[in-house]
Structures are given as structure tokens and as C-alpha cells.
């Protein structure tokens, strides 16, 4: 099956082409074309997974040589190993479910075919990014998903807010991509190759442990990851990206694209292992993002924004895991997060659909009566993301926290723990506000609330099921499990550690089962505390206590509600600064540059008006010139003999 891996990007790419070209004719059938392509990729991905599982080690499929300039060579080659096959499965399964869901959600929208063409193009780019065998191809996929993200955020392009959100995402991502590109240049400059295997094999030789070059490379790569995966300080685009259709938020801005940064860092774990400073920075930024995003999520009223901040926060967890060297744990969190966050977003889509497009949770409430399936699946996914014991999120988040603690980052561990508390709190807050209590919707909308068609509920059920059980892939050893997931990824994620071991740098801390159990208990307790707090405030104390609290903790409330004034800070510094700079440049342009240009043009014109007299239009005048020229050439020939 590995030989057919080229089909994985090929199928959605073809679908995108077909729908893009014949969308007018296909109309609603375009959805089926896209779904068929995605189901095909599931089959191929499962086949690849099966082969990899049976020890058919890393497999490279060389498609064609794309660029060949001197030493530089960019091959279009696909790499299948344990890491990429996991990502393949996540993208194809969640992607297919979202595609199916979209046929229901987007029914009757204008540009239905355009939507599926762009979504298929996204799948194509994402598969390319995941399967790439070298940095150049990965960058193509990286830019491709960025483009599709831009297109899909701005799906309602006739609305200013959607177009603005798309542009914001694109521009902010560009800052990160700039770093990524610089990193690629630096890698090529120092190692002379861009294939993953080539770079990583010679990395221990050419890069000194903790040296400046490798630190610069990893930091620049991380800059790209920060942009794509919405970390501090570039996270501001993701909440605005919710302007796109909800299935897009589920697939691109929760389950797959935003995890590309995490994937890329894990892919480069060899380089990161050689740069301890970068690892520290990754961990700190991850923890800070987890904390700040969670704190913002507590007070948001828009259900999709809550989920967006929760996504940022969970991505922060992933980077925290990478920063403390637990690469497999980060990937495992991608894996579980894709299911429960995809499920949450799709549920939110159902809710918004039922509310006739209203996102504000304060207008909802009591929807569990009419929307049983949505409520149950949302509940399951909320349990998972909060880290309720035995759900998927519990295992993955706990592994991250344990890895953080074990590596000695006690403060980061504490921050993560607090963020976990807040996660449980705000997620249950959204659950309670949306589905419990009395309905606060206007009468007209209240009558409109209904359960969604099966094409939309089916993906919910599947995703909810996975969010409950996906954790069993990797039950930690301390709970008598096999930590299968970590074991499976070991050949890829452990390369950095092996290199450090060879260099006699790493000092694996001894494993203390009792301590791990204790910490697990502590985080469980924290989660339960968060759930209880949410219950106390939003079920028992509604509506007095939230208001009272908002007043009592006025400063914190405002800090959180206004997103730490992060957007305003950027607005007053970068945006206003840019505008002011642009104005200055405009003045400079008008007076200095235009002056020079006009002066040049004037000079050219005055010289030309004299020179053009040479052009008499008389044949013989040209003939004389030609004769003089011939004479000079022959003279030159005679003289040089």
C-alpha cells in the first residue's frame, strides 16, 4: 500500500481541480466528489498505517525532480513514517467527517461548489505538508494550507468582517512564514541539503550542541510554527478566523492546519534537541499561551471564540510538551485534540445553525431538550478536553503535565495545571450556558431550534466516540498500560534523544511511578474542581453570581474580556505605526522619489528632443551611418591582426 501513497495528495487535488473547473455544472454533486476523494485517502492512509505497523520502516516515494540548480535540488518526494502516517490518519478521518458534515451545513449556501473546491485544495496541501520529504515541499504545503485558510476564512467575502479576518490571518501568518523561510535558507546554507533525512543525519556532525547556528535555525522554525499554530505573540488571528464557516473552523482552525506547527517541530526534533535554549523558549511560550488563552476563554460570550481560545490554549499545551522534550506526547495531544475539538466545533455549528446564526451563548440555554445528540456529543467532547479521567484528553494532557514535571520545569507545570483548571471551567461554562438552564432566546428563534439532519449528527457521534476512547491507544505504563502510541512513534520522536545520549548530554531522570500517580490525582482533582466551579456559578448561581464576580474581580474580568488588550496593543503599535510609516513614505514618495523620477524624465525628454533630430527618416542618412560603422569594424579587424 505504501507504493500508492501518492494517491493521498493526488485524490483531493484532483477533486479540487474537477470541482473548481466544473463546479457550475456539478452544483450539489460537488460535495460527493470531494467526499469520495477523502474516503479514498482514508483507505490509502489505513493501508499505509498497516504497512508501517508491520515494520515496513520509513518509506520514501520519489515522484519527480522539481528544481535542480547546481548543488540545489528540490525533489517532489513523499516520506511515510510513523509520524506522518499518524498525521495522515488524523487529517483524512477528521477531514472526511467534516466534509460529510459540510454537505448538511452548507446546504443552500451560495458558492457551495467553491467551498468544496477550496476544502479539497486544503486537504491536498495538508497532505503535501505532512508527507513532504524535504523542507521545500513542506513549505509548499505550508503555504498552500495558509492560502486555503485565507480563502475559507473569507468565504463570506462580501462581508467586510470576513474579508478583514481573512487578511489578518494571512498577514499574521506571513510573519511566521518569513521566519520559516529564513530557517530553510539557513539550513541549506549550513548543511547543503534540504531533505529531512539528509539534514538530520548530518546534524550532530555539523551543528555543535547548543551552538548559535542550530539555535537560530530552530528559533526561526519556531517562528513559523508560532504563526501557523497561533501561539503568543502571533495568536491574534485565530479568534478572528472564526469568521469562516464553522466546519472550516473545525477542520482547519482546530483539528489539522494549526497543528502543522507542532508537527513541524516534532519533525525537526533532532535539531531542537541540539538547541536547549530553543527548547526552553518553546516550552515557555507554550505554557504562557496555554495560560493566557485559557484566561481569555473564561469570559468570552461567542461560542466559537471560546472554542478558538481553547484551541490556542491546547496548542500551547502541545508546544509545552515539545519544549520539555516529550515529542510523542505532543503528537498524541494533536491526535486526541483533533477528535474532541473537531467534535466541539461541529456541535457549535449545529447550535449556531439552530439559533439562526447567533453565536452569543448568553442568548442560548436549555438547548439540550431539542438537540439531544448535539448535547450528548458536546458533553462527551467537553469531558475529553477538560481532561476528565479515562477520556482521551485525560491521557494526553496528563502525559504532557507529567513530562513537564519530570523534566524539572516546576513553574511551567504549575502554569499548566492552572490552565487545566481554567479549561475545565470555561468548557463547562460554555456547555452549561448553551445547553442547560432556561432558554434566553427570543420566541421566534426558540421555535426554530431543532435537531440537525443525519449528515450532520453522524460525524458528531463518530468524533465524540473517538474523543472518549482515543486515549486508550496510549495508557501510561503506570496505569498498567502499554503506552502504545509513544512506542509506535519512538523511531521518529526519539532520534533527538538518541543523539543527545550519544553526546552524553541528556540525563534521563529516574522514573518514579508513585509520583506520577500522585500528579495524576492532583490534575484530576483540579479538573473536578473546575467543573464544580462552573456548575456552581453557571447552574446554581445563574444569573447573579457571574455578574457579582465580574464586578468583584473587575480588573481581571476586563483583562480577560478584552483579551489582555492584545489586539489593541498591536493596533496602536504595529498597525498605527505602519500607517504612520506609510504616510511618511507617501510624502517621501511624492516629493523626493517623484521629484527624482520627474526630473529624470524631464532630462531624458530634453535630451531626446535633440537626439531625435538624428532620426531624419532619410534612407541615405542611415546608409552613411552604416557605411561608417562597417568601416570602423573592418578597421578594428585590421588593427587587431
Amino acid at each position: 500500500m505504501l507504493d500508492y501513497v501518492w494517491l493521498v495528495p493526488f485524490l483531493p487535488g484532483c477533486a479540487a481541480l474537477v470541482i473548481g473547473l466544473f463546479g457550475k455544472w456539478l452544483r450539489t454533486r460537488s460535495g460527493y466528489v470531494a467526499i469520495a476523494a477523502m474516503l479514498g485517502t482514508i483507505v490509502v492512509s489505513l493501508g499505509c498505517f498497516w504497512d508501517i505497523l508491520h515494520g515496513k520502516g520509513p518509506f520514501t516515494q520519489h515522484l519527480f525532480t522539481w528544481i535542480s540548480v547546481g548543488e540545489f535540488k528540490a525533489e517532489a518526494a513523499l516520506l511515510v513514517d510513523q509520524l506522518s502516517v499518524v498525521m495522515l490518519l488524523v487529517v483524512s478521518v477528521v477531514g472526511s467527517l467534516v466534509f460529510i458534515y459540510s454537505t448538511g451545513y452548507m446546504k443552500g449556501e451560495r458558492g457551495y461548489a467553491r467551498y468544496f473546491a477550496q476544502l479539497s485544495l486544503f486537504a491536498f496541501s495538508m497532505f503535501l505538508l505532512v508527507l513532504a520529504d524535504n523542507f521545500v515541499l513542506m513549505f509548499i504545503g505550508w503555504e498552500g494550507v495558509g492560502l486555503c485558510s485565507y480563502l475559507l476564512i473569507g468565504y463570506y467575502m462580501d462581508k467586510t468582517w470576513a474579508a478583514d479576518a481573512g487578511r489578518k490571518a494571512f498577514i499574521v501568518n506571513r510573519i511566521g512564514d518569513f521566519g520559516f523561510l529564513l530557517a530553510i535558507f539557513l539550513i541549506f546554507w549550513t548543511s547543503g541539503t534540504l531533505t529531512f533525512s539528509g539534514v538530520f543525519d548530518q546534524a550532530p556532525v555539523i551543528y555543535k550542541y547548543g551552538g548559535g547556528v542550530v539555535t537560530a535555525i530552530t528559533l526561526l522554525l519556531f517562528m513559523g510554527a508560532v504563526g501557523k499554530s497561533a501561539q503568543i505573540p502571533l495568536f491574534i488571528w485565530l479568534p478572528d478566523a472564526m469568521a469562516g464557516p464553522t466546519p472550516v473552523s473545525a477542520l482547519i482552525h482546530a483539528a489539522t492546519m494549526v497543528t502543522a506547527g507542532v508537527y513541524m517541530v516534532v519533525r525537526c526534533n533532532v535539531l531542537y534537541s541540539l538547541a536547549p535554549t530553543s527548547m526552553e523558549i518553546v516550552a515557555i511560550i507554550g505554557a504562557a499561551t496555554a495560560f493566557i488563552a485559557a484566561s481569555i476563554g473564561i469570559t468570552q460570550r461567542d461560542i466559537k471564540r471560546v472554542l478558538a481560545y481553547s484551541t490556542i490554549s491546547q496548542l500551547g499545551y502541545m508546544f509545552l510538551a515539545l519544549g520539555v522534550g516529550a515529542f510523542a506526547a505532543g503528537i498524541f495531544h494533536i491526535f486526541t485534540h483533533a477528535f474532541f475539538k473537531g467534535c466541539l466545533f461541529l456541535c457549535a455549528g449545529c447550535v449556531i445553525h439552530a439559533m439562526a446564526g447567533d453565536n452569543d451563548m448568553f442568548h442560548m440555554g436549555g438547548m439540550r431538550k431539542q438537540m439531544k445528540i448535539t448535547w450528548l456529543t458536546y458533553f462527551a467532547a467537553t469531558l475529553a478536553i477538560s481532561g476528565f479521567p479515562l477520556t482521551a484528553g485525560f491521557f494526553s494532557k496528563d502525559e504532557i503535565l507529567w513530562a513537564t514535571f519530570r523534566s524539572g520545569h516546576l513553574i511551567l507545570w504549575l502554569v499548566g495545571l492552572v490552565a487545566a483548571f481554567m479549561t475545565a471551567f470555561y468548557m463547562f461554562r460554555s456547555l452549561f450556558l448553551t445547553f442547560h438552564g432556561e432558554s434566553r432566546a427570543p420566541e421566534k428563534i426558540k421555535a426554530h431550534i431543532h435537531e440537525m439532519p443525519r449528515s450532520m449528527t453522524f460525524p458528531l457521534v463518530v468524533l465524540a466516540f473517538f474523543s472518549l476512547v482515543a486515549g486508550f491507544f496510549s495508557i501510561p505504563k503506570v496505569l498498567k498500560g502499554s503506552a502504545w502510541f509513544e512506542h509506535f512513534l519512538h523511531p521518529v520522536t526519539n532520534r533527538g534523544a538518541e543523539i543527545l545520549h550519544e553526546l552524553h548530554v541528556a540525563d534521563p531522570t529516574p522514573h518514579v511511578p508513585e509520583l506520577e500517580l500522585l500528579l495524576m490525582g492532583a490534575s484530576t482533582l483540579i479538573v473536578l474542581l473546575g467543573i464544580a466551579a462552573a456548575y456552581a456559578v453557571y447552574i446554581k448561581g445563574w444569573p447573579e453570581i457571574p455578574k457579582a464576580w465580574a464586578q468583584r474581580f473587575g480588573v481581571f474580568y476586563k483583562l480577560s474580556f478584552h483579551k489582555w488588550w492584545w489586539d489593541d496593543l498591536y493596533n496602536s503599535t504595529f498597525v498605527q505605526g505602519t500607517i504612520r510609516l506609510a504616510k511618511a513614505a507617501w510624502q517621501f514618495d511624492i516629493f523626493v522619489i517623484d521629484g527624482v523620477i520627474n526630473g529624470t524624465a524631464f532630462m531624458v525628454r530634453s535630451v531626446a528632443s535633440r537626439l531625435r533630430k538624428l532620426q531624419t527618416g532619410q534612407l541615405q542618412a542611415y546608409g552613411v551611418g552604416m557605411l561608417i560603422g562597417i568601416n570602423l569594424i573592418v578597421l578594428l579587424f585590421l588593427l587587431t591582426r
Partner: protein
């Protein structure tokens, strides 16, 4: 030595006729002297046993092309003033000087080049070259041969298109 005398006679007549082409002010005379030049050159070709080229020179050049020239001169029915257009007298001295420089320089170049090749003169052509010309033209030069025929067709069509009478509407437009 009659061949030699014949050759020098042709040489002198060709040179003189060529001069007269330029010097005579009447275009019809110029054309006539041009024909004479061509005939003299054909004679020189014959002396070098190049019968085929000589024949072509007489038939195509002196016969066809020059007749075309005369035909056009007659057709246009040029007025006296047009036929006897004065030359650029002010330019003439400079032009002649330039051409003299050209003559000397190119002559010197030819002299230098040929002196280096003097020792390697190969044997001269056999008297009967026509079969050889035919063979070479249809093998080695087949593609240029075909291309030249295409060029001729294009030239015929182009000349016919350019020289045809205009429609009345077009005529006022182009005047």
C-alpha cells in the same frame, strides 16, 4: 593570349558600365548600363567555365529582373523631373571619400587573408560542373532550396497585393 585580352576587355567594360549606372542621370540609361554590366560579368563567368551561372545571369538577371525594372519605369510613366532627379551634390564628396576608405580597407583585408592561403590553393573546378551543382543543390542544400521557393511565392503574392489597385474608399484614405 586572346583569352586574356577578352578578359581584360570585359573587365574594363564592366567597370565602365557600372560607373555609368551611377553617373547617368536618366534612370532608363542607368538600367541599360546595368544590363551591360551584367552581361560582362556573365562573360567573365563563362571564361571561368561557369556556364550554368552565366546562363542564369543572362536569363534571370539581365533578362527578367532588368526587364521588370524597365517595365516599372515605363508603367509609372515618370515625369521628366522624376526621371532626372538631381543627386545629393553636397554629400557626394564625403560619400566618395568614405567609399574609398572602404575600398582600401576591404582590399587590404582580402589581401592579408588571401596571402595566408596562397600556399594551399586546391585544384580548380572541372570544366563540367552542372551535374555537380544539381546534385549538391538537391542534397546538401535541399532545405534552403525549398525555403527559397517558399520565399519566392511569398514575394509574388506580396508584390501582387501591394501593387494592386485600391478600392475607391481606401484610395482617399491613403492619400
Amino acid at each position: 593570349m586572346p583569352v586574356s585580352i577578352l578578359y581584360y576587355a570585359l573587365f574594363v567594360i564592366a567597370l565602365g558600365a557600372a560607373l555609368m549606372v551611377v553617373l547617368s542621370r536618366n534612370t532608363v540609361y542607368s538600367a541599360a548600363f546595368l544590363i551591360l554590366t551584367m552581361l560582362c560579368l556573365a562573360g567573365i563567368f563563362l571564361l571561368m567555365h561557369q556556364e550554368f551561372v552565366a546562363a542564369i545571369q543572362v536569363i534571370v538577371y539581365a533578362g527578367a529582373i532588368m526587364v521588370l525594372f524597365l517595365f516599372v519605369i515605363m508603367l509609372l510613366n515618370l515625369r521628366e523631373r522624376e526621371i532626372l532627379l538631381p543627386d545629393f551634390r553636397s554629400l557626394r564628396i564625403w560619400v566618395v571619400l568614405l567609399v574609398l576608405v572602404f575600398f582600401v580597407q576591404v582590399g587590404a583585408t582580402c589581401f592579408i587573408v588571401l596571402r595566408q592561403m596562397r600556399d594551399v590553393y586546391p585544384p580548380e573546378l572541372p570544366p563540367d560542373t552542372i551535374p555537380l551543382i544539381a546534385k549538391t543543390l538537391l542534397t546538401k542544400y535541399l532545405l534552403p532550396f525549398e525555403l527559397v521557393s517558399v520565399l519566392l511565392v511569398i514575394a509574388i503574392i506580396g508584390a501582387a497585393m501591394i501593387a494592386r489597385h485600391d478600392e475607391p474608399a481606401e484610395h482617399s484614405d491613403s492619400s
